[in-house]
Amino acid sequence: MVNVTAGTAKPQEKSINMSPFAIARRKFLRNKLAMISSFFLLTVIIFSFLAPYITTQDITKVNISLMSLEPGGEHVLGTDKSGRDVFTRLLYGGRISLVVGFSCTALVILFGTVVGSIAGFYGGVVDSILMRFTDFVLNFPFLVFVIVLNTILFGIVNGLYVLIGVISLLSWGGVARIVRSKILAEKENEYILAAISIGCKPSKVIIRHLLPNVLSTIIVQATILFASMIVAESALSFLGFGVPQSIPSWGNMLSASQEADVLRDKPWIWMPPAIILVITILSINFIGEGLKDAFNPKSQR
């Protein structure tokens, strides 16, 4: 039998057999802003994680003779009020900020996706119970909860893990809602009925059929979350309830600006973490925008 439509396969597509993800990847690689942002973010990550090989300064040792030195000479970005090298702390701080941001994002996405997809797929009573629980968690006062938990658990568990755990535990609600709404829309497609009728178990329908089709939303959500998690860590550390003071993080470094004379007269102490934080958040958001565009079948680039 002859296929009358054989000739109408899109001729403008150079490479054939592209999955939707391959198409998205190509679109993303052509997005200049997103590529520059990715490059910057990658640089920040590499520098932060190679910190021990880049500088040999001590990040915790207080040195009274080197207090509040201006930038230049041995200390490229100067020293802070305890005589510690700002550049070194910036690199190590990036490490902590990125690790906290990344782990929180991963946990939040994992938990939110599991809850959201189960609620969306099964609907009915399961949906009601899970979503009311989600509402309940979303209603916790974030800041108060973090402060209380941090205080209770201080000294029992490593402060960093407490922070990651508490932030993740309180933030998955939004992701669960978004994933649920996407799954609700996606499961109305006939290919889901087809998957059930060809004998897929519910778990397989969710993992193989539903999640790949809402993955673009989840990825975009993850980038935005990553940025906001870094901000959350910084904000908490700035207030003194985040990462323990002994560990440098961008937020901890920023908290030095709470002192008026540092804020007014010693900008080298707080400007570097502020600038790097802003640019990092911006570039993560640009990457998110780029991904959103890339996954949108209607945008042609």
């Binding site: 296929n3 439509t5 054939i16 057999n17 999955s19 939707p20 290919y191 009925l193 009728s197 060809i198």
Partner: protein, 337 residues
């Protein structure tokens, strides 16, 4: 291949088997309407309201009716993709109305579905090879190579090139996508295929190709079809027997020839009078129905059709007529007979 050649094909088809494959008894499927603060059920949309019919092995039963009359719901309920409210679905002597879990999954090997919308019925993130091999992976313990051979064989049977294996759904036209859907349904060699308006989303030129493919496959694999459509000429071309549905009820069921030659139910008469006549010189009487289809949430009392029936009598609104055999093999639910 054009339609005339294909029409010849039906008349030669043997129809000796009279074994019942599927027996539907008093099937009802209601969609609950939730309302109010506590989301209580305040009513039911009676999508399928008490229908009974049987399908014999090897035959094609066509199901026609206008939009929203419950054709698709019937098909989906039989596959147990929807939960029946009442009634029995008996497949090969086994009651599949209430089975669930693993037993239902096992039973599903024998009945498959071809879907209406070829654009929504293929997972966009899977390649054609993955789509067609998935049912085999779910049920058969076959080696990777065997599965691939099987998929290649299915591709050639539905008239797709072997290169299609690595392509994705979006690279195909509607007709080709429908072929992929047919190959997926065929993969498990089912006994019954429910085709839910398989050609209504396709161009007319492609429709006949897909219909002929379905016919060829029926002969080759000894398939039984429940063919759901709203296009009367398509149903006439495909079916051995035809059921006419109105507002969740089966109003008439008869053999193809009998139904078109002598429609008995006033609704069927109106439907058949609406088939376009290719010859402009030949004038025919067109029965035009008044009013709209009543809401299935609150169907009329008595005969569901009495609000629009040109021959309605007073008692029509009181007594609900049951389906009875008026002539051999010709059942109708109307008090006139």
């Amino acid at each position: 291949m054009n339609k005339i050649e294909a029409e010849k094909g039906i008349s030669t088809k043997p129809k000796t088997d009279k074994e019942v494959l599927l027996d539907i008894q008093n099937l009802k499927t209601y969609y609950p309407v939730k309302g109010g603060f506590l989301k209580r059920t305040v009513g039911n949309v009676k999508a399928v309201d008490d229908i009974s019919f049987t399908i014999n092995k090897g035959e094609t039963l066509g199901l026609v009716g206008e939009s929203g009359c419950g054709k698709s719901t019937t098909g989906r309920t039989i596959l147990r993709l929807l939960k029946p409210t009442e009634g029995k679905i008996i497949f090969e002597g086994k009651d599949i109305t209430t089975i669930s879990g693993t037993r239902l999954r096992k039973a599903r090997q024998d009945f498959q579905m071809v879907f209406q919308d070829p654009y929504a019925s293929l997972n966009p993130t899977q390649s054609v090879g993955e789509i067609i091999s998935e049912p085999l992976k779910n049920y058969k313990s076959m080696s990777k190579k065997d599965i691939k051979d099987e998929v290649m064989d299915l591709l050639s049977r539905v008239g797709l090139p072997p290169e299609a294996y690595h392509k994705y759904g979006h690279e195909f036209s509607g007709g080709q996508r429908q072929r992929i859907g047919i190959a997926r349904a065929l993969a498990l060699k089912p006994k019954l295929i429910i085709a839910d308006e398989p050609v209504s989303a396709l161009d007319v030129s492609v429709q006949s190709q897909v219909l002929n493919l379905l016919k060829e496959l029926q002969d080759e694999f000894k398939l039984t079809y429940l063919f759901i459509a709203h296009d009367l000429s398509v149903v006439k071309h495909m079916s051995d027997r035809i059921g006419v549905m109105y507002l969740g009820n089966l109003v008439e069921i008869a053999t193809n020839d009998s139904l078109y030659a002598e429609p008995l139910h006033p609704y069927t008469q109106a439907l058949i009078s609406a088939i376009p006549e290719p010859n402009p010189k030949k004038r025919k009487k067109r029965i035009i129905l008044q009013g709209d289809v009543p809401s299935p949430q609150n169907p009329p009392s008595g005969c569901p059709f009495h609000t629009r029936c040109p021959m309605a009598k007073e008692e029509c609104s009181k007594v609900k007529p049951i389906l009875k055999e008026v002539k051999p093999g010709h059942h109708v639910a109307c008090i006139l007979y």
